[in-house]
């Protein structure tokens, strides 16, 4: 017990020291800055667009597109790495770019772990970019594909069994492992198949082809992994046939080498400080999991083999395995905690765990591990002492452990494909887009449409068009959106043709959502098999607004200046601001000059009461006023106006109306 206390104490010290000392993992290349900046207006046309990411990116696999306002691709060449700056990508632009708004679509492949991030932003040359995608929106991170997760499950499960065959087989079973040839062949084949499946999933997800992938930094890591797993497979064949105890370590060495290759090619290598410490912890984590869970497979096979042969259960071997499992669980707890704290960005960031898919998956994985430990305890203390008399309970529990282990491998595979919480944006952003999802009547095609920023005016539309059954890109020849405001007969419909970017993604920039309200958006997808229409509905969200208030002195109204972006301001005030007859003034300005309005609807709502639409008069093209009577209390005032050039302006402010 004293020894245990020493071990636990040392473990806690190691966890705390390493957690405090190590920087967070980044894993997933997020855009830190750009030149020109998101939303910037530049006076002279830039010759390059340069993007700076949070970690090194693979230039050969990453994509940067610069589109003009009509959706045309205008960049002059492919994205290239900036010399000496592995975190930067640059794309050259044609000389003398005309004034206008330009959208930059980027898709970055991390050189550290090959994971993909993507997003778009806009800048203006000589003009304001208007309603652009905001910088606070998190990058789009494709979720782990089924193929990717399946490949990793096979790889991890296979390597775990192979490592356990060498390590647990040598210590607990004296080198005489059950069903040796078949076990090694199946495990090695599963690992090899898993590595190959992962490679092809990567090719599909990156969309760059096998050749370009293998020539990239990411591809080099896959080649190392494949070589080591292939070596493990050959060693397993040889060891399976040799049937002596001295060849087993070769399998263990190659399997642990493959585990190291995965540790180098995963999140651990993206740690901002002491990456090799994190890689070492990840490697030990892999091996301890292998010894524990792979050892369970060995035990299950041994019991089954002995039972079929009518021999007594291998109680001594299982007791020795129990000791190995004990230390393995301790080691994986320590290394897992080091890795988890690093991925989450420090102990203080644990509170963000459930804010991300990564955190939720990690919590589920830990929960499954707790279940596994509990099942192990049941077998150790309940089933094992009775194994000579009755092996049914032991076999049932170990079966449950193997099912839980397989689930654990699945969550681990998913976990290593998700962006860690430490790489998530620093604060939860407000919604910066609106989206809708639907399918055609015959359920052949699915469309997920996102409009950014989702406010009336200019929006970037991004549609993911996938096959209904497989979820793979549908590969249409064209995609078009037809817009019609619901409940409005005065505004006609409009269409917007989308342009294929990559995979299932089609995008375009348009001002089709010109009014506040709900829109019917019919997506027409032309596929080789025929044309389908997917009906969708989008409801615009209120635009962000910044209000500055000039508090007047005695007899003066409070004057609200509401900045709606793109140089547009609504100046409004309630005169006199006390109960009784009042005037509700609204004046529109663009860049400080009068902005003519075609119409304005002014309404007032007393707290807890119904909204009143006020009769308003136009005093000047940009100035409307409503004469009304207000009672004392907290009021909300709403303004919805349309400019003569068709833009919709929407603003809200609140004011307490005092007693006269």
């Amino acid at each position: 017990m004293r020894a245990l206390r020493r071990v636990c104490g040392a473990a806690v010290i190691v966890i705390v020291a390493l957690s405090l000392g190590a920087g967070p993992a980044v894993a997933h290349a997020n855009l830190l800055s750009s030149d020109p900046k998101d939303g910037a207006t530049v006076a002279t046309a830039p010759t390059h667009v340069t993007l700076t990411f949070s970690e090194p990116v693979d230039a050969g696999l990453s994509l940067v597109q610069v589109l003009d306002s009509s959706g045309g691709d205008i960049h002059a060449g492919p994205a290239v790495a900036v010399s000496g700056e592995p975190r930067e990508l640059s794309v050259s632009l044609p000389a003398h770019l005309p004034d206008g708004v330009y959208t930059v679509n980027w898709r970055a492949v991390s050189a550290a772990d090959s994971h993909i991030t993507a997003k778009a932003f806009a800048f203006g040359v000589g003009v304001r970019p208007g309603a652009t995608p905001t910088t606070v929106a998190p990058p789009f991170v494709p979720g782990p594909s089924v193929l990717w997760v399946a490949g990793k499950m096979l790889l991890y499960a296979g390597l775990a069994v192979l490592f356990a065959a060498a390590f647990v087989g040598a210590i607990a079973f004296g080198g005489v492992i059950p069903s040796r040839r078949a076990l090694l062949l199946v495990a090695a084949s599963a690992a090899l198949l898993g590595a190959v499946v992962m490679l092809f999933a990567e090719v599909r997800d990156v969309g760059a082809g096998l050749g370009p992938l293998l020539r990239s930094q990411v591809g080099a890591r896959y080649l190392w992994l494949l070589a080591l797993v292939a070596g493990t497979w050959v060693a397993s064949l040889w060891t399976g046939a040799a049937r002596d105890r001295w060849t087993l370590p070769v399998v263990g060495l190659t399997a642990s080498g493959a585990m190291l290759a995965r540790a180098v090619g995963g999140h651990a290598s993206a740690s901002l400080s002491a990456p090799w410490l994190q890689i070492g912890a990840q490697w030990l984590h892999f091996m301890s999991v292998g010894a524990w869970i792979g050892g369970l497979v060995l035990v299950a096979v041994a019991i089954r083999e002995r039972s079929r042969a009518g021999e007594p259960a291998p109680v001594a071997e299982i007791r020795r395995f129990s000791t190995i499992a004990f230390w393995s669980v301790g080691l994986l707890t320590v290394t897992g905690s080091i890795r988890a704290v690093n991925e989450l960005g420090g102990i203080a960031a644990i509170g963000r765990l459930l804010d991300t898919s990564y955190g939720i998956t990690l919590a589920i994985k830990v929960s499954i591990a707790v279940v596994l430990v509990t099942l192990g305890g049941i077998n150790r203390y309940r089933s094992l002492p009775r194994l000579h008399e009755d092996h049914h309970l032991f076999r049932r529990v170990i079966g449950a452990e193997l099912v839980a282990s397989l689930t654990l491998f699945g969550f681990t595979a998913a976990l290593t494909s998700l962006p860690p919480a430490a790489s998530a944006p620093p604060s939860a952003p407000p919604p910066s887009s609106i989206s809708a999802r639907g399918s055609d009547f015959a359920t052949t095609t699915k469309v997920t449409l996102r409009a950014t920023p989702g406010t009336p005016g200019s929006n970037t539309f991004a549609a993911d068009v996938t096959d209904y059954n497989t979820g793979d890109p549908a590969h249409p020849t064209s995609v078009e959106l037809q817009f019609q405001p619901k409940g409005s007969q005065q505004v006609g419909g409009s269409t917007l043709a989308l342009r294929h970017v990559t995979g299932a993604r089609w995008t375009a920039v348009g001002t089709n959502l010109s009014l506040v309200g709900t829109w019917s958006v019919v997506t027409t997808v032309v596929r080789p098999a025929g044309t389908v229409q997917v009906p969708l509905t989008l409801t615009t969200r209120a635009p962000p607004q910044t209000i500055s208030v000039s508090h007047g002195g005695a007899g003066q109204p409070d004057i609200y200046t509401i900045n709606l972006g793109a140089g547009v301001e609504l100046q409004t005030y309630i005169d006199p601001g006390t109960a009784g007859p009042s005037q509700f003034h609204v004046t529109a300005f663009q860049d400080g000059k009068a902005l003519p309005l075609a119409s304005a609807t002014l309404s007032a709502t007393l707290a807890g009461g119904a909204s009143r639409t006020l009769a308003s008069d136009r005093l000047a093209p940009e100035h409307f006023v409503a004469n009304t009577t207000l009672s004392a209390g907290d009021w909300r005032f709403d303004i919805q106006a349309t400019t003569t050039d068709g833009r919709t302006l929407q603003a809200t402010f609140s004011q307490t109306i005092g007693a006269p």
């Binding site: 707890t333 919590a363 604060s427 939860a428 952003p429 002195g553």
Partner: protein, 143 residues
């Protein structure tokens, strides 16, 4: 070994629970940012109502409003560029803002019979008052 294993279970459960049991600290962003801006400018203008005179009784129909503005000029253009001696007039009849004007003489059409309170205010280029307000008032009666 039994005690070791039991103790390790407890230690492992504590560490795992620490990682797994966390609070959700999501924040909600607000689309409105409110800041204070500076005070309104004061004007050099002086305003008075020449006609109708206080207590004047007028025949039914249109009423001619005449004002005198000194120290400032009336400009037509609206902007957020505020100049102390530039602006225009808002005309408030019986607490209703009925018109804005860029002239010192304005016709108020079809004023109903009765006693009326008429206020005229010289406002800045952005349609909002100066501080202090430049305002003149009178009352008259329509037969």
């Amino acid at each position: 070994m039994t005690n070791r294993l039991r103790a390790l279970f407890i230690a492992a459960a504590l560490v795992l629970t620490m990682v797994a049991c966390v609070s959700n600290s999501s924040t909600s962003g607000s689309a409105v940012i409110s800041t204070a801006s500076g005070p309104r400018p004061s004007s050099t203008g002086k305003l008075s109502i020449i006609s109708p005179a206080t207590g004047e009784v007028l025949p039914a129909g249109d009423v001619t409003l005449k004002v005198k503005l000194t120290g400032a000029t009336i400009v037509a253009a609206s902007s957020t560029h505020l100049v102390p001696d530039q602006g225009h007039l808002h005309v408030i009849l019986d607490d209703n803002l009925i018109t804005m004007t860029g002239s010192t003489t304005t016709i108020l059409p079809n004023v109903a019979s009765g006693t009326h309170l008429l206020k005229v205010e010289f406002v800045a280029n952005d349609h909002a008052p100066f501080d202090p307000r430049v305002i003149a008032a009178t009352s008259f009666k329509v037969k």
